[in-house]
Amino acid sequence: MADNSIDHLFYVILWMTGLVFIGTGLAMFWFLWKYDEKKNDGPVWYSHGSHLLEIIWSVIPAVVILFLAIYQMDAWAGARMRRPMLENGQPKPAMARVIGRQFEWKIQYPGDDKQFDTPDDLYTTNDLHVPRDEEVVLEITSEDVLHSFFLPNFREKQDVVPGMKQFLWFKPVKDGKYDIVCAELCGWGHYKMKGRITVESASDFRAWLQKAYDEQELSEYSLAEAE
């Protein structure tokens, strides 16, 4: 992902909850040590509660929690609501379509005409290539059961629902080959529904598209020839 907002939020929550846990844990063990029956020979503190304390420990967590909730909202909107735009104000079209099926990822590139389901489309299986430093928009759907398109290294995940067309977007920043994981139970072969996403420079990406397309044409030609 371009920004590290999810990692940042994770660590913010980790620090906050970590401090709360250490605080409560220390308080608890201190009470247990101090008020052990064998040690404490003073009188018991006969109390049914304190109105003031209840207010303190309701209001402070409420403020902290409300802050945390509001603090998350921008990252959520960025990941799910603010779809990247073209310069003319239209939503950016999908670079590729990803279709989940038991137990593989079918990937479809629209080709030069930018239209899906036309003769110049490129089809691959489990092999997604994306250019670096560019907002990538994907259209994802399923043709049988639920799947979940999970890119652990990109902190990106979206369930793939049959009958629903969804868009997701992210910005790859580092070259390399990463796993595409299916994260929603989809049957006995769920564990092996593995794809691979390759991040490369824009020129390498275009070269790969061309090469893959040529190979596809060649195999179609030779198939026709064989008949």
Binding site: I6, V44, S50, W57, R101, A183
Partner: protein
């Protein structure tokens, strides 16, 4: 309400040869006595607890030593594959582990076993409001036991759509060829569990509202009863939705309807006929019940822990009313947060924000409860008995489980950790570290009342210590896996390069899990030995205040051998009004109590 039949322990203690066969059956099998039903629930659920634990070991074995020959079980079940398990079998393992633990262990052990046993005793009633309905609520569990149990043996490999049974995988037989009939049986069993819970909850509500002893106002109820009461309300309002959804899925499977099946599906290369439905509809309906069910699985435990903490801190419960309001708050909020299970499901992202705020707000009543528990032990005279140790560990583990919930309540973080081991860690801390530890504590605490004998303390402490250690070894590590993105429900996660380096950590967890199950032998031995040979307990071995401790141990039919009259709340420990450090609810003001004779006995 029928009149109190005051036959105590003495008149009740028939020897077995006094019974005819018919009498034996009506007394111990088809009994309408809430205590017998409670114990029936207890024994059944403890047996299923063991089965669920062994299923978990199966899961852990595969994650630690994938595709290796499973010892003992492997050669028996998978001789054709040379002793290694199949991915289908693994899918069945985690489906049935969760199913068994949720529907046959945690919910029935809290509501069925402890709810049944404790509600009439703690409110001073002679039985439930509807004893026959109560009996049916246990016996309708048996079709569920048989269908769930039978689903292991029919078809290829048993139900394997996960315990959430998400369609279309669960509603189209072609999508999961190995679980044809088993999945249908799973749905029928789920319906039976729902009927049982519904019968129980109607009964509990009526009993708690109508049958409290004189003087037992709502604000004098022990927290256990408050937990049970709110739980019964949750069940009554949420369960019909799940039952209806279950029938819809059954219809999808059996009659070709399409509630949850969209148009134009191609499954296993064949086109599906039915259509027009929405898979997300099931998720909404399912979680509309199953999120409140999460609180059904914790609120009674919170109540029991509050009682145990106050008793062994020898101090009044800190902030009784805020504790009651917190339980109500958790239950109320519980109805409007189901969507947090669906942040990445494709649900409208705007809704996600609403659900995030509501979900995070649940941390508020949870914090109030935690701080009040700490306030309860502050300034007391703490007795470190086995039930107290379990109750204390409940508090600490619940803090971990509660705090880790904030991570997944935060929608952007949930994008990453959803369906990873972070979630698994979270709910095991709440359900095992929380509820199961509270259940163990409650068994040690109320055992003297149930069986009239004490459990062995040193053995209990060994059981506590080992369980506590190995539990954390197993489940804390899951947080770390989850932070790497390690997904749930994968038969072989090491198929992915990203997760390959996590194998040693999984092996550590598996060893801890095996030891955790193994050390339950201390509990089993202690439990059965103490039933027969434990030292006799009097009416009130812990010097507690609750009404149940004024009845004989074990209480005879009709519970009390006197008419209990309640003068105060249940937490008057170390009250300045009396010399003893406890002040039973039935003891008239300014009368000196006797340790083993209820003060109101004179009325009898």
């Amino acid at each position: 309400m029928s009149s109190i039949t005051a036959d105590g322990q003495a008149t009740h203690a028939h020897t077995s040869n006094e019974f005819g066969v018919g009498e034996f059956i009506t007394t111990y099998v088809f009994s309408r006595d809430h205590k017998v039903i409670g114990l029936q629930f207890l024994f059944s659920t403890l047996l299923w607890f063991l089965i669920g634990g062994l299923l978990a070991i199966g899961i852990r074995w595969q994650l630690a030593w994938p595709w290796s020959d499973m010892p003992v079980i492997g050669p028996m079940l998978f001789s054709a594959e040379g002793g290694q398990i199949s991915p289908e079998f693994y899918t069945m393992l985690f489906t049935m582990h969760a199913t068994v633990m949720t529907f046959l262990v945690i919910i029935p052990i809290l509501a069925g076993a402890f709810g049944n046993y404790l509600i009439p005793l703690m409110i001073g009633a002679d039985d439930m409001a509807f004893p026959t309905l109560n009996m049916l609520s246990y016996w309708v569990m048996w079709p569920a036991f048989l269908f769930f149990g039978g689903s292991f043996f029919v078809a290829g490999n048993g139900a394997s759509s996960g315990w959430t049974s998400y369609p279309p995988l669960s509603s189209i037989s072609e999508a999961a060829p190995g679980s044809g009939l088993a999945q249908t049986m799973w749905l029928i069993a789920l319906t039976c569990v729902g009927i049982s819970s519904m019968m129980g909850s109607v009964n509990y509500m009526t009993t708690i509202i109508q049958m409290r002893a004189p003087g037992m106002t709502m604000m004098r109820l022990p927290m256990t009863i408050w937990g049970m009461f709110i739980t019964a309300l949750l069940q009554a309002f949420a369960l019909p939705v799940l039952t209806a959804a279950g029938f819809m899925q059954l219809a999808d499977r059996m009659f070709g309807t399409g509630f949850f099946v969209p148009e134009g599906l191609i499954v296993n290369n064949s086109e599906m006929a039915a259509g027009g439905g929405q898979p997300l509809l099931w998720q909404h309906l399912f979680w509309f019940y199953s999120h409140p069910a999460v609180y059904i699985m914790i609120l009674p435990a919170m109540g029991m822990v509050s009682d145990i903490l106050a008793c062994f801190a020898r101090k009044p419960l800190f902030g009784y009313k805020p504790m009651v309001y917190a339980i109500c708050g958790i239950a109320g909020l519980g109805f409007i947060v189901w969507g947090h299970h669906m942040f990445v499901s494709g649900m409208n992202p705007g809704l996600g924000m609403t659900f995030m705020v509501a979900t995070m707000m649940i941390a508020l009543p949870s914090a109030v409860k935690t701080f009040n528990w700490l306030g309860t032990i502050y300034g007391g005279k703490i007795q470190f008995t086995t039930p107290m140790l379990f109750a204390l560990s409940f508090v600490l583990m619940f803090v971990i489980g509660g705090l880790s919930g904030i991570f997944m309540a935060a929608t952007p973080v949930d994008i990453f950790i959803h369906d990873t081991y972070f979630i698994v860690a979270h709910f095991h801390y709440v359900l095992f570290g929380g509820t199961a530890m509270a259940v163990f504590g409650a068994i040690y605490f109320w055992f003297p009342k149930m069986f009239g004998r004490m459990m062995n303390e040193p053995l209990g402490k060994v059981h506590f210590l080992l369980t506590f250690l190995f539990m954390n070894g197993t489940f804390f590590t899951m947080h770390i896996l989850g932070a790497v993105g390690f997904p749930r429900r994968l038969a072989d996660p090491y198929h992915y390069e990203t997760f390959r380096h996590l194998l040693p950590m999984n092996q550590f967890m598996t060893i801890c899990a095996i030891l955790m199950v193994a050390c339950q032998i201390f509990f089993i031995v202690n439990f059965f030995y103490s039933i027969f040979f434990g030292p006799k307990a009097g009416r009130n071995p812990w010097h507690a205040n609750g009404l149940e401790w004024q009845a004989p141990s074990p209480p005879g039919h009709g519970n009390f051998d006197f008419q209990p009259i309640v003068y105060r709340g249940p937490y008057e420990y170390n009250s300045p009004e009396v010399d003893e450090d406890y002040y039973p609810q039935t003891q008239p003001p300014n009368q000196r109590g006797d340790t083993d004779e209820p003060a109101t006995m004179v009325n009898h």
